[in-house]
Each structure stands twice: as C-alpha cells, then as structure tokens.
C-alpha cells in the first residue's frame, strides 16, 4: 500500500503543473515517500558534528554518535567530543526521551522540545523521518529554491501526536523528492526555525536491499533569536547491525564508566 501510494505521488509530481490539484491522499503519499526513502529497515549509526552559534557567546561544538533502530523506533545519541561532554547522551524508547549526564550520574525525562546538547536542534533532527505518521499535509505553493524547482507543503500535526512543532512548511525538490527547506511554526503561527538541507547522500543499504537517503548537512536558523544558528554535519554513516542491548540505559551508562 505504501509503495503504491509512493508510486502514485511520484506520478503526480512528474506530471506538472498538477500540484495545486493534488488531493490529501496524494500529499500523504508524497510524505510517505520522503519517509520511506530515508528509512533503513536495519540499524543506523552516524558520526555527527554539531555547532551552535549565538550572539555574544562562544560557539558550542559537539561531536556525537547517533544510533537508530528504525524497526522499533529507537534512538540514542552519545556525545563523544569534547572530552568534557563525552559520555553524555539521550535515549528515546517508545514515547520517552531521556537525557543522561555521567557527571551527576542521573537520568532525566525530557520532552520533544529539549534542545539537544544545548543547541537549537531537536530530537527529530537526528531521528528517522516520520512525517506521514506525525502530520497531515496540504498543498501550499510551488516555485524555485536556488537552482531547484520545489513544491511547498503545509503540514499540521495530527491530534494526540507529540511533536516539537505543530505546524511545518516543507519545500520538496520536484526532481529527487528530497527535502530542501523546512520552516517550523508555533500554534500561534509564529515562525520559530528555518532549516535547510543542501546536501543529500545516497547509500546502499544491505538490510533494505536498496538505497537510503541521508542528509549530509542541515543548517538551522533561529527565527526568534535571529543571529543564532545551528549546523549539523553527518560525517559518516554505518549501516551495520547494532548490538541487541544497545538501546538501554545500562549501555549508555557503561560508556562513561
């Protein structure tokens, strides 16, 4: 069903200028395609560089490992550098997002709005794309974004789904169907963040048997505190299977002992 919808949406996208006429089902199909192209049916591990710039403050710079098991929606972030941050981490199990600090040996239950490592990034920036599960789409506009022809969708959070941003505008490249730009709004309609996805990488996934799309660079601009920005660079990706007991508090604790 999902692949049928994806095909349908591809056909719709490939036949301009019909975006404005796309119905809700076809929009959902497009979101499913975006999710599916980034989903690896096996495990995922990535080495990520994170940099936060704020006015009148020294830059916050981190390196971290992102672990994902998309099959059962698990996510873990383990900070590796600088040394003072090494061993800190986040663990998402079911609807719980935990943060851990080895300096105090405590776990803390946090929310979707948690600023990861004190930067303007959120859990969802590192996690599997779940746009179709979390949002209802509608057509907004179409036009050029730099050199690329893009379609803009307006996404509204589904009832009872906990997301960091209840309204999102998404610009999708018409040719590759990759996300180019994402603007996130509060319920009041106030623009909070603008994120750009200027580089994507195609990787062959043995577990999926096909290619997986991974954003290599995400640039997030704070729209409330205008001078602030966050850079996420995905330096390398490992698609080998991870250990069975990896996504546990005990495993993350063990990394700082």
């Amino acid at each position: 069903m999902r692949s049928n919808l994806a095909l349908l949406s591809f056909a719709a996208l490939a036949a301009p200028p019909a975006f404005g006429a796309l119905g809700p089902e076809k929009m959902r199909g497009l979101l499913e395609e975006i999710d599916e192209s980034q989903r690896n049916s096996g495990d995922y591990k990535a080495l990520v560089y994170l940099e936060q710039r704020e006015k009148d403050k020294t830059d916050v710079v981190r390196e971290l490992l992102v672990y994902r098991r998309d099959e059962d929606d698990k996510l873990m972030l383990l900070f590796t550098k600088p040394k003072s941050e090494s061993g800190k981490g986040y663990l998402r199990i079911d609807k719980n997002l935990w943060s851990y600090d080895p300096n105090v040996g405590k776990w803390e239950r946090t929310t979707e709005r948690e600023r990861i490592g004190g930067t303007n990034s959120r859990r969802a920036d590192f996690d599997e794309s779940r746009l179709a599960d979390e949002y209802d789409p509608s057509f907004a506009s179409e036009g050029k974004l730099g050199n690329f022809e893009a379609v803009e969708l307006k996404l509204t959070a589904k009832p009872n789904v906990d997301v960091a941003y209840p309204v999102v505008h998404l610009w999708v490249d018409k040719a590759s169907h990759n996300v180019l730009k994402r603007q996130e709004f509060a319920l009041s309609g106030k623009l909070l963040r603008t994120a750009y996805y200027p580089r994507w990488q195609k990787l062959f996934s043995p577990s999926k048997g096909t290619e997986v799309w991974v954003p290599q660079e995400i640039r997030i601009y704070d729209e409330v505190e205008k001078p602030n920005s966050t850079l996420v660079l995905i330096k390398s990706v490992d698609l080998n299977a991870l250990g069975a007991n990896l996504f546990t508090k005990a495993w993350l604790e063990s990394k700082s002992r």
């Binding site: 590796t80 079911d94 040996g105 004190g118 200027p198």
Partner: protein, 696 residues
C-alpha cells in the same frame, strides 16, 4: 527688658486660662504635636526596618560589578530573567582596594544565576532509587537485599494503586479513551512472574517500568531555581538578617547549598501539606474562616481530591500503618487509604485544627514531606554563559530565612550556594576544551554561509551525491572523559584564596554607617578610575531593582501620608491662631488707644503664642512619646505580607528619638508664631478708633 518679658508672660498666663478659645487652640496644638511625634517616629522606624531588611539580607549598603556589563545589576531578577553581567576582573585586587576606603567594613563576593530543575514524577523517583540499588548490587556491593526488597515492594504497591485507578476509570469512561498499551503494561508488571524474574534481569525490568509504567503518572515538577553563589561562610557572618531555619550552615570552605525557606516550602513541600499549612496560617494568624473564603475552600477541595501524591509515596508496610492510624483517628472502617485521606482532609472551621494535628502526628512521619531533603544531593542543570549545558551535584545543608523578606516571593526566591559550584554552572570552557573545540571546527571545515543569501549559496550546486557506508568504531571516536570529581568535590575544603580567585560577578560592600553611602560611592568611582578596576558601584536601592524601587516608593508614600497629616495639623493650628488673634482686634485697639506701642502689642501676642505652644506642644509631645512607648513595648502586628515586608518581620517595634520630639515641638511653635504674627501685625495697623468700634 527682663521685667517687661516677665510682665508679658504673666499677661499670657492670665489670658491663657481666661479665654475658652485658648483652651481649644491648646487642645489642637496638643493633638497636632502628638500626631507629628507619632507619625515621624513611625515613619523613621518603618524606613529603618525596611532598609535594614534589604541591606542585611543580600544587598549590603552598596554593590559593585563590572562596568563592562551589558545589563545593570538586579539582585532580585530583571522581570523574570537574570542580568547579563561581565565578571569582575581580579576580585582579590578589587577587594583590597575597596577595604582601603574609610568606612568599608566588608566586601562579599557573589554571582547570581538561575536554572530549571526537573524532577521526575513520583514513579520516576522511586524507580531511580531502585536503579541505583540495582547498580550497586551489580557492582557486587553486599547487604542491600533488605533495601532492594523494600523498594521493589514499594513499586508493586504503586502498580496496585495505578491499576485500581485504571479500573475505576474503566468503570466510568469509554474504554477507547484508555491506551491499550498502558493497560497491557500494567497487567504485565502486576504479575508475580515479572517480579520473580526481576533479579535475573533487573535492568531489563527497570527499562520496562521506566518507559511503559512511569509515563502513566504525570505529577512531574519543573522548578525555577534562582541562586546566589557566594563565599557562604563570609556571607553568613556579614549579613545579620540571615538565620538558618533547618539543618545547619555549610561548613567553611566546603561546597554546599542552602534553600530559602519560603522557596523550600512553596516549591518543594508536598502540595497537600503546604495547603494544610496555608489554611492553618490563615486561621491562626489572620483570623480567617474556611467557610466563605474561596481560596481556603479551594485548598480543602484540592486536598480531598489530590491524595495520590501521598498514596504513591507509601510502600505496603507504610500504607498498612497509615490505614490503621487513620481508621483509629477518624473512627472509620474504610479500608482504602485514598478514601481515608479524603475524609481526613474534609475540613471545616470546627474540625480543622484537630485534622491538622492528626495529619502531622499520624501521617506525616510516614512521608517524605519534601522532594529534596536536608542532607540530600541536589542535581542542578544550567546553561553556562557560553551556552553549554552543565550539571552539578551539590549537597543540601539546610534552609535559611531573611528576616523581613522571608515572605516576599521576590526576595525569598533566591537560594544560596557556594561560589565554586556556582562557577561550575556558570563558567566558560577551560583553555584545554577551547583548544579542542578549535581543532574540531577546523576538522569539520564547514563553509561560512551568509544567512541573507542562504538559499542562493546553499542551493546553487549538486544536491545529491553517491556515498557508501563505513564502519564506525566507538572506541575510535569516543573521547576519554576526565574522571568524575564528584565524590572528591563534596569533601574538599577550599581556602579563602581559592574561593576569591575566580569568576565573581558582583560584590556586596558593607559599611560601618549607612549614612556614608553617598560618600563611599564617590570614593569607589574615583578609586576605580585611578586604579583601573573597571567597577560600577550602585546603592542598595538601585541594586535591589524592583524591591529597592518598592522600598523607595513605600518610603515616598509614607512621607507623603505623614506630610498630609502634618499639613492638616498645621493648617488647623494656623486657622485657629489667626481667628483667635483677629478676634482680639478690639482689645488691641483699646491697648493702642491707652498708649501701648505697636512693638509692645506684638510682643504680647507673640509671648502668648509661645506660652501656648510650649505648654500644649509639650503636652502633645509627652502624649506622643507615651503612645510610642506603648507601641514600642507591644509592637504593631503585620496584618499581611506587604506590612510584613515594611515592618521587616511579624511585628514592628517602633522607637522614638529626642530629635523627633524636638522637631515636632519646634515646627509646631514656628507655625503657631507665623500664624499669630501676620494677623497681629494687621490688627496693630487698624486705627484704634476703628478697632474699638469693631463689634459695635
């Protein structure tokens, strides 16, 4: 000359009691003087009390901070945020320089910041303790079986309560409103098999409980914690309004935390107990009644309906004990703790005191009344100045109150911590970390993008590249974390030099005499310019921000009120004296007709006024002094939180000084003379013939 004066005094004394109008005027002078004495003394006493509350609590007479700071110092916060201050460069040098100024007694280093402290829900807290015990057992620590078993039983008791709640919900709600996963999770952990397997895989079982059961309880708290980092020993010795309420002071040179008692009660106490305390205070101190008071009635309703915090805190044994005790105290056969608690909290004006006693004698000893207890370790997570997130553990030694400010939500929200812990939470990255970060940035090689042209710059080239996965070895990328210093830090004793050498954001300057404030302010500015200390000095009123403005505004309001009373008194005296003098126009005409010279007539009227002023003004001053003596001995009770602040405590004991009596007497006499002389001069200018015919 003297004989003339004696004659005039005799005439004045004779006239004084000969005329009823003089007695009326005398009574007015007496009342007016008493009013000025009492009003002036009260005004001075309130001003002194209010000022000493703020000066003696945290502000000192003056505050100094770096002139390079972006914001102005705001000791009690700046509309919910904290002022952005630059650190004082070389605090030991600044301290030496300030102490060299005449009149400066002490210089106390400080820094103010705030953090949001998240505490998990009740189940999270219980499970965290179980995890801690399981970790210790996994490290082969022995003798933990009893504690582990008790904690497991506590969790099982919580699960029974949650299941009971869910079953009740199922009976009244649509089943679709309840998540099937929640129900399934509760059923699984209710089974004996789950607990029989706990010891085999404690961490697996804990993960299940933490992720599937704990989220079903939603009583987590998020506390806004404001703290003043300081040299705690020096602080407690310097500020006379601070007193330790619970626990004890942090030993000199050690790391530690002291909660402000008001904050501790409002933010960390079990909500039910806090509501009971508030009702108790309202009935006992303010003479209120529950019936008809919407706030107190709401407290009673909330206590009856919100018993879960208590029920979830108790393990099976304590639950049994609580049921037994409440059944006995309430003469009830009810078997369910939550229903018994509801009955206990069904209070009205007739039974409140008894129920309050039962709660504190029978139930409270089984409970943890505070989320963080004295002796516990508090974890504080804050954003450092450089934007990093930093967490520290710090031991709570006790609670303190600032006399006079202990009921002010603004002032009493500030807690105290040692300066070393403050620096850990506030600090910049070390030189080593800064170097490491520099290397990381260079290795990342990210290109600079102009935000205003981001779309053109970012979307001008290829969007997609073909890559291949690589094997990432944790050991190769995981930095070696410096060994945790937490355990050593708690016991370490820092020297005064260590405490003072480091980041200090502001410092309180205490003087020998509050009257020296303007002079010392000028001297500090001169010294700072001469020795390039880069300091800005402000008075306590300015440093205290809203609180200082409140004190100044209140002082102005008090002066205004006293001024009105004073003016009214003076106008009455003036009118009475003028009327009395004008009534004597005929007498003055007669005196002038029989040869009395104008100066003699004026002197006669003036002496009469002086005698009147001294006699009745003196009486008024005596009366005012007696009133002040009485008030000074008994005290004036504060009737609400605002007067509590103005009185610097629950009662104001006003004092009276000789200068205030002299001032009252002097001003009353002066007004009387002015009020008499003008009509007298007018009267002497009237022709004697006309004056003598005035009443014909």
């Amino acid at each position: 000359m003297i004989s003339a004066f004696v004659v005039l005094v005799r005439i004045a004394l004779r006239n004084l009691f000969a005329s009823a109008i003089n007695l009326v005027i005398g009574a007015i002078i007496l009342f007016g003087t008493a009013l000025v004495v009492v009003g002036g003394a009260l005004l001075d006493s309130v001003d002194r009390a209010m000022s000493s509350s703020v000066i003696g609590s945290v502000a000192g007479h003056l505050q100094v901070y770096s002139a390079a700071s972006r914001d102005e110092l705001a000791l009690y916060g700046d509309f919910g945020g904290e002022a952005d201050l630059s650190p004082i460069q070389d605090f030991p040098k600044v301290k030496r320089a300030l102490l060299s100024i005449e009149g400066v007694r002490k210089v106390v280093p400080m820094g103010i910041n705030a953090a949001l402290v998240a505490s998990g829900n009740t189940v999270d807290l219980v499970l965290a303790e179980l995890r801690e015990l399981s970790n210790r057992k996994a490290k082969k620590e022995t003798g933990l079986e009893g504690e582990l078993e008790a904690q497991k039983q506590h969790v099982r008791q919580i699960i029974r309560v949650l299941r009971g709640d869910l079953e009740k919900s199922l009976a009244v709600m649509d089943k679709s409103a309840i998540e099937p996963e929640d129900l399934a999770a509760l059923e699984q952990v209710s089974k004996d098999e789950f607990w029989a397997g706990f010891d085999r895989d404690p961490f697996g079982a804990l993960e299940f409980l933490e992720n599937r059961v704990a989220p079903q309880v939603s009583d987590a708290d998020l506390l806004y914690l404001r703290y003043v980092g300081t040299d705690l020993g020096e602080f407690l010795r310097s500020f006379d309004r601070i007193r330790i309420v619970d626990g004890g002071p942090v030993p000199d040179g050690k790391r530690g935390f002291l909660f402000a008692k008001f904050f501790y009660e409002e933010g960390l106490k079990l909500k039910t107990a806090r509501r009971l305390d508030k009702i108790h205070e309202a009935l006992a101190q303010s003479g209120k009644k529950i019936a008809g008071d919407p706030v107190l009635e709401r407290y009673v309703r909330e206590n009856q309906s919100q018993t879960r915090d208590i029920v979830l805190q108790l393990g099976p044994e304590k639950t049994r004990l609580a049921i037994e005790r409440l059944q006995r105290a309430l003469l009830s056969k009810e078997q369910e703790l939550s229903a018994l608690l509801s009955s206990l909290f069904a209070t009205d004006d007739s039974n409140f005191q008894e129920r309050y006693r039962i709660f504190y004698e029978q139930v409270a000893p089984l409970l943890s009344l505070y989320r963080v207890r004295v002796g516990d370790t508090l974890t504080i997570k804050a954003f450092t100045r450089s934007g990093n997130v930093r967490s520290v553990n710090v031991k709570v030694y006790g609670t303190f109150a600032m006399e006079g400010l202990d009921k002010s939500p603004l002032a009493a929200a500030a807690n105290l911590m040692d300066l070393m812990t403050f620096r850990d939470l506030y600090g910049f990255p070390s030189a080593e970390t800064a170097e490491e970060i520099s290397a990381m940035k260079a290795a990342a090689g990210a290109k600079e993008v102009d935000r205003s042209r981001a779309e053109e710059e970012l979307f001008g080239g290829a969007l997609v590249t073909q890559g291949s996965p690589v094997a990432i070895e944790e050991s190769a990328v995981l930095g070696v974390r410096p060994r945790s210093r937490a355990e050593q830090l708690e016991d370490r004793v820092y020297t005064a030099e260590e405490i003072e050498s480091g980041v200090v954001l502001n410092a309180a300057v205490l003087l020998d005499d509050a009257g020296r404030v303007p002079g010392v302010l000028r001297r500090i500015e001169e010294l700072s310019g001469r020795e390039r200390l880069g300091l800005k000095a402000v008075s306590w009123q300015k440093a205290s921000g809203i609180l200082g403005q409140m004190a100044t505004a209140m002082k102005a309001a008090l002066f205004f009120s006293a001024g009105i009373v004073f003016v009214i008194a003076m106008v009455i005296i003036n009118n009475a004296m003028m009327m009395a003098t004008l009534q004597r126009t005929q007498t003055i005409g007669t005196l002038r007709a029989i040869g009395a010279q104008r100066p003699f007539v004026l002197s006669m009227v003036l002496v009469e006024t002086l005698v009147l002023g001294f006699l009745f003004g003196g009486g008024g001053a005596l009366l005012g002094s007696l009133v002040m003596l009485l008030l000074g001995a008994r005290g004036i009770p504060a009737f609400d939180d605002a007067t509590y602040f103005f009185f610097s405590g629950p009662r104001l004991f006003p004092t009276l000084e000789v200068a205030q009596i002299a001032f009252a007497l002097g001003i009353v006499t002066l007004v009387s003379i002015v009020s008499t002389l003008i009509p007298a001069v007018v009267a002497t200018r009237v022709s004697p013939v006309v004056a003598m015919q005035a009443e014909e």
